[in-house]
Symmetry: D5
């Protein structure tokens, strides 16, 4: 099942530089794990912003929720999820395939 | 899988009374079918409005989409869907159950 | 009487880990009490967010208000309540039943 | 039980003058009935607009819904309802009184 | 002259418990004074929120402003005022009466 | 008493040119009357739009409402009114003066 | 270059059934052409709505604009485009690749 | 003086093809005149939409208003104007230059 | 040239009382200077709020910007400016006069 | 390729004066570099606000993103980017030129 996910990160400006670096490093590591596990299918940055939009794949909303809350930046992030239905133009696998 | 669905119906004020009656009668009939088939789990009216909010159950977003577009009022309706994840307080069946 | 209730929790990112754990543990305990008392009928998570949507049952808005403000996270939460009217498709008990 | 109700009427500009007069006359008549029956407790106009805000009293959301949909302008109106809880400063009768 | 007034209080979660208790106690005292003085005509809580909606009566916007800013929680509050015009259904006293 | 009033006119594009000319001519005539009567104190156009913003003076919201609804374009207009309170920097006459 | 594109189609309810069928058939044909030409990379339906979200690929905003306006439903559609920047987690080809 | 101007054109879908062609042809002609007269300094399309954003130059808001309302599509357009102040990074001529 | 200016002041609740008093005293002094210099033509309070709306007069947007940023509360304020065009009902001096 | 970029800077009111001066000095220096490098084509201030709107030129969204995040105020800024398509009225170079 596919989801459109927008994640906007709002780091407090007074976060200490080392804490910030460490947090973003942890985030990249967790991101690579989710990419390799197939949860993150595609992901892009919204230019100019600490925000990304991605296509995620999960067994359902609960599994997706757990993956998203496992992100180190989750506590600083505004996350929006849209469940996606199959469009006749694609044969992208989904719940009816 | 459960979804929160809001449906606001915007009937044009100049719809002929018979067309309106027939449309709403068709809507009730289709609604009963979806209720009996288990797609509509619970549904309430938003007081004062031609709008309802319901808990729907479907195999996934594509099956839900087809059920919603089968509603006779779909062409007049603004429909919003939110996929729901399991909350620890309930053991309501979902994709991880 | 039934209500649709959305609760979005906004924990400050600098909340100490122990304070956070304790707060969420208190919240779960109070949630279970309200579930057993029949105030929370059904509840789901909005995927990706510290937000839930639920169907609550109370004698009226004042009783609901008191239940909601008794939640340990109330001081950190944005809460939205919609009173629900009976829909012809259900015979869910309400004020006219 | 008390409700805050906002009703914005959007009459199409091309409504024939007689139809408009008749509709508004019917509306006034139905309004007086609801006022006398105690459903409308207080009502004011939002200056400059075909919009009013009122305090309504009904046994519950379903009874309120039926009263609101009985308004002749309901098909042209945008209606918003907020259920009201008792405030400690007033002893206005409500569900816990 | 009547006004619809919404007051949403946003207390910082880290306000010390005693400061919070004292502030709310001051607020109740000032509220009772304004109620007795006839400025607050009716007031209700929005269920689930630290927010109220009320009907206020004042000689005009300036007098209302001064009453609202005299509330101890004013510095923490988001306040919205709507001046109300007389509705034909009521003979509630106003500027033309 | 002073009010800030925004009026956005939404003429249907298919309004016949003569009807449109006549309507706008009526509007200008009524506007001049309200200006001479002192209801319109100042008025400007929002550049690029069929919208104006003005400072109006009336005995109260009900008198203002009647003046605004007397505008020939009222049926096509979105009107927003804000009651104004005296600012210490001006000695512009108001309800406390 | 990649773009996130949302297309919401708002067909007038009074569109004749044959005109509607023909329009949607034309739309599907044009959609298949754009898919085969590589402009539409991926596309999904937003459940419950006549709305889709897709990943489009074009040489730049002007080429994308021309493709989008070539859609038969363009005159009935609300279209939103977001240019996408490369995210470190993917090596999806873009302007810097 | 410079202005940021957004113009979104909302042509009714049932506009006759010839009327539409003629209107857009008139629009292009008027656009070229305003470009040559120096009122339109720069203009771009918002991809996917019948919308443009431009930098306009005029003696002031009144002159700009007249230029914008002279556009043949003005009756179908939503127009937003933002007056621009000089930024230290540019020596673009403005009211203080 | 005239501008409609809205200024909403958001003082942090934890601002020390003396700092707050001093800031507001400085603000009043600067306000009087701008009033006497003719930049502030008229100004009112939005009842219930730390917000004002005024008619300002300046040579252009850059001069207005400098006047607004010279306000002691500018760092705490949300400021919105709308350039105003002449309305046929007034002969208020503007750029074409 | 051209972009419309809005940057609103939200400096915390309690930022130390020297830190603020240094930050803004760094910002001006970086701004001049981007102006000379041709990334910033034109830029204006939104009057009354710490906000600017500019026309930027970059090879694509990724290069633009890197330029924008190189701004010293990026951590305090809300940045919005709109990719621009060529308008027939200009021959401003873009991806199809």
């Amino acid at each position: 099942m596919k989801f459109l996910v927008r994640i906007e990160v709002r780091l407090p400006p007074d976060l200490a530089p080392e804490a910030r670096s460490e947090l973003l490093e942890d985030e990249r590591r967790r991101g690579r794990e989710l990419k390799e596990a197939g949860l993150i299918v595609d992901i892009w940055r919204i230019p100019g912003r600490l925000e990304n939009v991605g296509i995620w794949s999960a067994q359902g909303p609960t599994a997706l929720h757990e993956a998203l809350r496992s992100l180190p930046v989750a506590g600083y992030a505004e996350i929006e999820v849209t469940a996606l239905a199959r469009h006749p133009l694609t044969d992208d696998g989904d719940d009816l395939a």
